[in-house]
Each structure stands twice: as structure tokens, then as C-alpha cells.
Symmetry: C2
Subunit: 154 residues, 2 copies
DNA sequence: TTTTTTGCAAAACCTTTGCAGTTGG
DNA sequence: CCAACTGCAAAGGTTTTGCAAAAAA
């Protein structure tokens, strides 16, 4: 179901380190490619291709949306980038982090919470024991109501 | 986040009972509407609007895709139909069942398993306790690897 | 120079919408 | 008869693709 080969996740402190990895991976470091990386380093949360193309609202250089998609795809193959899908919205992209991350998405307020996979170990075990199923909330998040919204809703 | 008002789920044994409910709900029972209901009664698993429009591959009358979407929307407002979203694919529609149902979707083989919400009570409790989060796998399923695929993958 | 990458335009995919004509009750 | 509904065509939002021109190494 994954279409492109994907390397081990790699984490980088800054754009220069990532840039070196891009070259080491056999890719060229074009200006649009650098812009996408720059946007991802600048973003505090996962962002859409459109937000990246728009330069994150002026904070980084803009780029062509189709180049953004192509670059995100290549960077993901290199293990530098990952993406997830929240609800009906566009895919959201972020730099790979060292540790395994999963997500909880509130379908009421829209908030997406990143959680260390370790902290979900108990949940995973329970699902495995009861259904023989290996849950994975890293690409399609666990959906529901966050505490605040659940309290409001009753 | 839900856009249309939605009534209590209602379950019907056959097309005639559902048809009566459609009328009781103030909707007219047009031929396309009946065709959509017929397709849903004929389907063993959740199906896409396109499959319904195509007459489920010849088993039921075909209909116009835009009418299918409009009808599914109305039937969902009446509590007769529900839908879920699996991976990147189109929305999948099914008749409402009496009991609360949630879904597990295998991202390797694509199989979608329907599970009584009751059977997920322990999982829900664990998620609630650890994250204060009310999980809901009825609209966006719990994604991961089913037992078979997990075994293969190692 | 060679191969990758870009920019732009077009298309693909799923879903929604506008509208004039048809139909159910 | 009249509001609800249909069929068709067009558009909307996200993502992919084709291709000739540009740029990286």
C-alpha cells in the first residue's frame, strides 16, 4: 500500500544538515527543494503542501505547488519527511523526528496532538490482545474527542 | 464538524420498511432513491457512491452519481445510512445497524472489519485513562495491520 | 554536458453545486 | 399543482502527470 521505497528516518538539526543529506541521497539541491526544507524547519506543526507553496504566509520563500508535492515525495523517500492525513483535509507534512510519533486528532476542535509511540504502548497492547491487530496512528491518527471537547459535549 | 443534523439511527429489515421511513421522514420515494436503498440492502459490506451508481456491478439498477450522493446525504440525515472513510479511497456507505459499530482497517490488505463498539470498550477506556481522549472509530477507522498481515510483515 | 528538476498547464479523482426540467404525492 | 427531486454539466479541492525549458553538478 506504500508506493515508494522509504529509508530509515533521519533527523537533522538544521537546513544545512538536511541539505547535505539530500545531496548524499543523490538528489540535487535546487532552490525550490531548499524552500520546502526551509518551510518544514520553520513550521511548528505539520503543514499542508499549499501552506508550504505559499511560503508559510510570508515567512519563507514561495514555491510552485507541483514542485512542492514532488519534493515532499522525494524527501519522504529519503526518510527526511513524513506526512499524515487528518479528517477530510489535505495531507500534512513534517520533518521526521528521531522517535516514533503518533497522533490523536480531535474531530470537534480539530486539534492534532503528537504523542510518543512509547506512551501508546499500553493502548497498542490492548488492541493487539483483543483483536490481533497492530494499530498504527502515525499516518492516520486516532480520531475522537479531546478531553475538553468531550467534557463540553457530555 | 458534522454539517447536517442527524437523527437517531434507525434499522429496517427490508426495502419496504426503509421506504416507509423515508416517507415518514418527509422525503419522497423516487426511483433513484429506491435504487440507492436497494443497493445498500444488497451490499454485504460498505460500498462507495460510485459502486452504488454502477448498480453494484449489475445486481441493482444504476443511478446518476450526483443523485446517489444527494440521496446518501439525505438518508444519512434520516439516520438510515452512515458512512466511513478508509485510507485514501472514496467514502463508503452502509445501512445503519441497530448497535454501535466501529471499524478496523488493515492498511496492507485493505480489509475493513466491523466491530461492535462494546467489544472496544476496553480499548476506549485505556485511551480515556491515558490521554483523556474519547476515541471514535466509527467514522475514521482504527488503522494498522490485521493479524495476518502483521504476521507476514514480522 | 548530462541528468535532474522546474514551471506551467492539463488531467485525475472524489464530491458538490447550479439550474432547468421532471415527478411524486 | 407545487415542492421535492432528477439529470447533466460545470466547478471545487487536492494531488498527479506530461513536457519542454532551465539549472545543478
Amino acid at each position: 500500500m506504500t508506493k515508494a521505497p522509504r529509508r530509515e528516518p533521519r533527523i537533522f538539526r538544521d537546513l544545512d544538515e538536511a541539505a547535505a543529506a539530500v545531496r548524499a541521497g543523490g538528489l540535487r539541491l535546487s532552490a525550490p527543494r531548499r524552500a520546502v526544507l526551509g518551510a518544514l524547519f520553520a513550521a511548528a506543526v505539520p503543514v499542508s503542501a499549499e501552506q508550504i507553496a505559499a511560503g508559510l504566509g510570508g515567512r519563507v520563500p514561495t514555491s510552485e505547488i507541483s514542485s512542492v508535492y514532488r519534493n515532499l515525495e522525494r524527501l519522504e523517500e529519503l526518510g527526511i519527511v513524513r506526512h499524515l492525513h487528518v479528517g477530510h483535509g489535505p495531507g500534512l507534512y513534517a520533518l521526521e523526528t528521531g522517535s516514533e510519533q503518533e497522533y490523536l486528532a480531535c474531530e470537534h476542535c480539530g486539534r492534532v496532538t503528537m504523542v510518543d509511540a512509547e506512551r501508546l504502548a499500553g493502548v497498542h497492547a490492548r488492541i493487539r490482545d483483543e483483536f490481533g491487530f497492530e494499530a498504527d496512528f502515525s499516518h492516520f491518527p486516532l480520531v475522537g474527542l479531546c478531553g475538553d471537547c468531550a467534557a463540553q459535549a457530555g
